[in-house]
């Protein structure tokens, strides 16, 4: 029998409350909207995944660089929308990005329906600092459920918690969870479902006048009292009265408090409604009055909140008298040690890239094999012509080219996820901060730059850990200068073909290896220079502060690590895959059309046709003869060689005649000072969407067909013997090879990276800037390398 009187059900009752769910319960409007908020490193994303399951949607809040993550879940029979807010230590907005969470929580965003409740997640072993943001959330007047995560780790550290007492003293439901083991998730869901619906009332304008007791606070029997001293509350009330008298829109009380507390000037200039010159003047006067009473702004906030927290935690937390030295502590002693810490760090960085290659290699070969097999199948099923060429040379080569790198990317993501989850990333940032601060960055920029050696896309995404927006932007803009795995094929090919295989110092230092290292080094050096210049000019600002929590070590959870790896890997496939696909088709079309080769070079078409006919005839005869001794064993071989030559010549002529080829010849004057002919220019041009296509493009251009890979000796040989059009002067020499490699090391030849920068910065300005500066840098650097090279080495 249904409950005749709809009302709040007690905490812990898993029976869903019927009020909110209407007949159209699946509609977006009627779903109960729950925000998830908490400090970084509290397992918030893990809890989000545990609650929301796979039904997630990610995007961006318009105008800012904050990721918007939503999940839908049904608890009992009510639909809920979970909103994952960015991890934060405090709800004190000092930038548009930080304002997003406050606006979502206050229901001030036009594109978001207002919230119904908030789930705060806190780290059980550090309730004191974690409750800071909770005290701010409580002031917003929304119903709150507190999820106390990692209770097992707190217990390991000898911390005992009286959560029943915490629930009484805090006045909101408190649920212990172990998000990484999915323990306590059901209880948390039940507590969420037990919150009475229709909480929007509590955010009506009238409630702003009510200073202390919150409309929903009575439910748990404890009034939520403002953590601020009387004098402060009176000043806030006075500001509110001022707005009322002036007849301007009255700000939510929380924002008025923030206006009074924000001494950085952000909120004053944030264009909030109702913020008049008079109000600002009064705010300043109020700060002076408070300072005289021993309540200096901004210090008063932290002091009041931590005092309030001390009261709430009274009798809740019992720590061992003597701090237990945990295994994590012992490990940390080594990992942050002056000598050992540095050694472990260097070893880790070197080793990290080794498994990325050997672990991923078999899978890469498998994908490559699959690609060839699929190509053969298509060749067998689709008749020769534009469609076959599009499918094989455009789609398969383009998309396949990306998929071949997937194992490397997944492996790197796996290692990064492990390092993140066990807590080492924060130590790496701690160890590297001093070096990074020399160029005006902080230790937090180190990890994204490190990831960029494998691929700039995860690198750019990893900049999210950097809170300072300018810092984050600089890191993002220099990340593509790190030599990613897609540059390796180019280096391998050219180093193998043109750098002498000499060894120095008893065979320890090979010239080829040193050249390879120089290519990686030039990217790093340029990144340092560019970052330094950007911090002095365009993105001028003080060296950002480095105030960072060093979270405790823990064993990485298998689920979390795999989940993060798959999540990031999949978004890589989606983003890079779709873009590469489109671009591959465009490049293919530019290199394929116009098909008027018969008009341009009829003699080559005839020669190829004759050769094909000759081979077919000889093969037919051979088949007829069967096991009989062959009359002229060399004939077929010769005919096949002739066909191969004719094929190559025809392909070359077609390419010269294609739109891409014409463009290449048109830009030759520009690339000639770099020591390049039109064909290299063409290959470089075709590589702008994705630099790894250059090997295939060089193969086509130098009349070899598109099946070359960097290990092929014949492509090396062909490049060595290539000459300038219509002369016998060799095209390639050491300066030319170096000039090409330097160009590839520094150029922004990766549309996916630019697309990710666009996504992360929410503007086309920064990818455009990255493209222009990197391309100019690449041009100037390879010009210098070539011009100096021919003068020094001849």
């Amino acid at each position: 029998m249904p409950d005749p009187v709809p009302g709040p059900s007690p905490v812990g009752d898993s029976k869903p409350n019927p009020v909110a769910a209407s007949a159209d319960a699946w509609g977006r409007e009627s779903a109960v909207r729950v925000a998830l908020i908490g400090n970084p490193n509290t397992g918030k994303s893990t809890l989000f995944s545990a609650l929301a399951g796979v039904r997630q949607r990610t995007g961006n809040y318009p105008g800012v660089t904050v990721e918007k993550k939503e999940g839908r879940v049904v608890i009992g029979d009510r639909p809920f929308v979970l909103i994952d807010l960015p991890g934060t230590y405090s709800l004190a907005p000092r930038s548009p990005d930080e304002m997003v969470a406050v606006d979502v929580l206050l229901g001030r965003r036009d594109d978001e329906p207002p919230l119904d409740m908030v789930v705060c997640i806190v780290d059980a072993s550090n309730l004191e600092r974690n409750l800071y943001v909770v005290s701010q959330v409580l002031e917003l007047g929304l119903p709150v459920v507190l999820a106390v995560n990692m209770v097992d780790i707190a217990a390991d550290r000898g911390v005992t918690l009286d959560l029943a007492r915490l629930e009484r003293q805090l006045g909101v439901p408190v649920v212990p969870v172990q998000a990484h083991r999915k323990v306590g998730i059901d209880k948390l869901a039940a507590a969420i479902a037990a919150i009475p619906a229709g909480s929007q009332i509590s955010r009506s304008p009238q409630s702003a006048t009510d200073t202390t007791a919150r409309p929903d606070a009575g439910r748990a029997g404890v009034a939520r009292v403002s953590p601020f001293p009387e004098a402060f509350q009176r000043e806030v009330a006075a500001l509110e009265q001022l707005e009322r008298r002036a007849g301007v829109p009255v700000l939510p009380r929380y924002l008025l408090e923030r206006l009074l507390l924000d001494t950085t000037g952000y909120l004053e200039n944030a264009g909030l409604p109702g913020v008049t010159a008079e109000l600002l003047a009064e705010t300043k006067a109020a700060r002076s009055r408070l300072a005289l009473q021993g309540l200096p702004v901004p210090g008063v906030e932290a002091m009041s909140r931590y005092q309030w927290i001390a009261g709430i935690l009274e009798g809740v937390v019992a720590r061992p008298k003597q701090r237990l030295v945990t295994t994590g502590d012992k490990v940390d002693r080594v990992l942050t040690h002056r000598v050992w810490g540095t050694l472990v760090f260097v070893a880790m960085m070197v080793l990290m890239f080794q498994p990325v290659f050997w672990m991923a290699e078999p899978a890469s070969l498998l994908i490559d094999g699959g690609k060839s097999w699929l190509g053969d199948q298509i060749a067998a099923a689709v008749p020769e012509g534009a469609l076959r060429s599009l499918l094989i040379n455009g789609v398969l080569e383009g998309v396949g080219g990306v998929l071949v790198f997937l194992p490397q990317i997944f492996t790197l993501f796996l290692f990064i996820a492990i390092l993140e989850d066990c807590g080492y990333m924060a130590r790496a940032a701690y160890l590297m901060d001093r070096l990074m601060s020399r160029v005006g960055l902080s230790g937090k920029s180190f990890i994204p730059l490190l990831s960029s050696f494998a691929c700039a896309i995860p690198g750019v995404m990893a900049t999210r850990v950097i809170e300072n927006p300018k810092d984050r932007l600089v890191t993002m803009l220099v990340a593509p200068l790190m030599s990613c795995s897609a540059r390796l094929p180019v280096y391998t090919l050219l180093v193998g073909a043109f750098i002498p295989d000499r060894y120095y110092l008893g065979g320890w230092f090979g010239l080829q290896g040193l050249t390879m290292f120089a290519m990686y080094a030039i990217g790093v050096v340029m990144a340092v220079v560019v970052a330094w210049i950007l911090k002095l000019t365009l993105l001028r600002g003080v060296t950002p502060p480095f105030v960072m929590e060093l979270p405790g070590y823990k064993l990485p959870g298998l689920n979390i690590v795999l989940y993060r790896m798959l999540e990031r890997g999949w978004s890589f496939v989606q983003r890079a895959g779709t873009l590469i696909f489109a671009v591959s088709v465009v490049v293919w079309a530019a290199a394929y059309y116009p098909r008027d080769i018969e008009r341009v070079a009829p003699e080559l078409v005839k020669r190829q046709a004759d050769a094909a006919l000759a081979v077919a005839r000889l093969e037919a005869r051979e088949a007829e003869l069967g096991d009989q001794p062959q009359t002229a064993p060399g004939d077929l071989e010769t005919a096949r060689q002739e066909l191969e030559v004719a094929d190559d010549l025809l392909a070359g002529a077609m390419l010269r005649n294609s739109y891409l080829g014409r463009l290449g010849q048109w830009i030759e004057p520009v690339v000639k000072p770099l020591g390049w002919d039109w064909r290299i220019g063409c290959a470089a041009l075709a590589s702008f969407p994705a630099r790894e296509v250059v090997v295939a493009t060089l193969g086509v251009i130098y009349n070899l067909g598109a099946d070359e890979d960097e290990e092929s000796e014949s492509l090396r040989e062909t490049l060595r013997s290539a000459t300038w059009d219509g002369s016998t002067t060799p095209l390639f020499n050491v300066p030319v090879a170096l000039s090409i490699m330097v160009f590839f090391a520094l150029c922004a030849q990766c549309a996916s990276t630019l697309a990710v920068i666009k996504r992360e910065t929410n503007s086309w300005r920064w990818p455009a800037f990255t493209f222009v500066y990197m391309t100019s840098l690449a041009y100037v650097a390879s010009l210098a390398v070539y011009q100096i090279g021919i003068r020094v080495g001849g």
């Binding site: 600092r129 950085t264 906030e301 932290a302 931590y306 502060p545 480095f546 929590e549 060093l550 405790g552």
Partner: protein
């Protein structure tokens, strides 16, 4: 006698007296729990001497020397 948190010896404990400044960095230090009266301990320094690692309110916080200079402390005697 007033010193700053940047001048503590490794292993030394102290009580925060005040945090200077009204900008974002000071606000962040306050929010992270460096409020007057709280006890902290310098646990160690990064290999290059900067940043520093403190323990306070049951967790570990890393700040640069430049930021630690804003935190005036009074060392706790007999516990170094």
């Amino acid at each position: 006698m007033s010193r700053t948190a940047a001048e503590l010896r490794v292993g030394e404990r102290a009580r925060v007296v005040r945090v200077d400044g009204m900008d974002e960095i000071s606000m962040r230090l306050l929010e992270m729990g460096l409020t007057p009266g709280v006890e902290l301990e310098l646990l160690g320094k990064a290999p290059l001497g900067d940043p520093l690692e403190f323990e306070l309110r049951g967790y570990r916080l890393s700040v640069r020397i430049a930021e630690a200079r804003r935190v005036a402390v009074s060392p706790l005697s007999g516990d170094s």
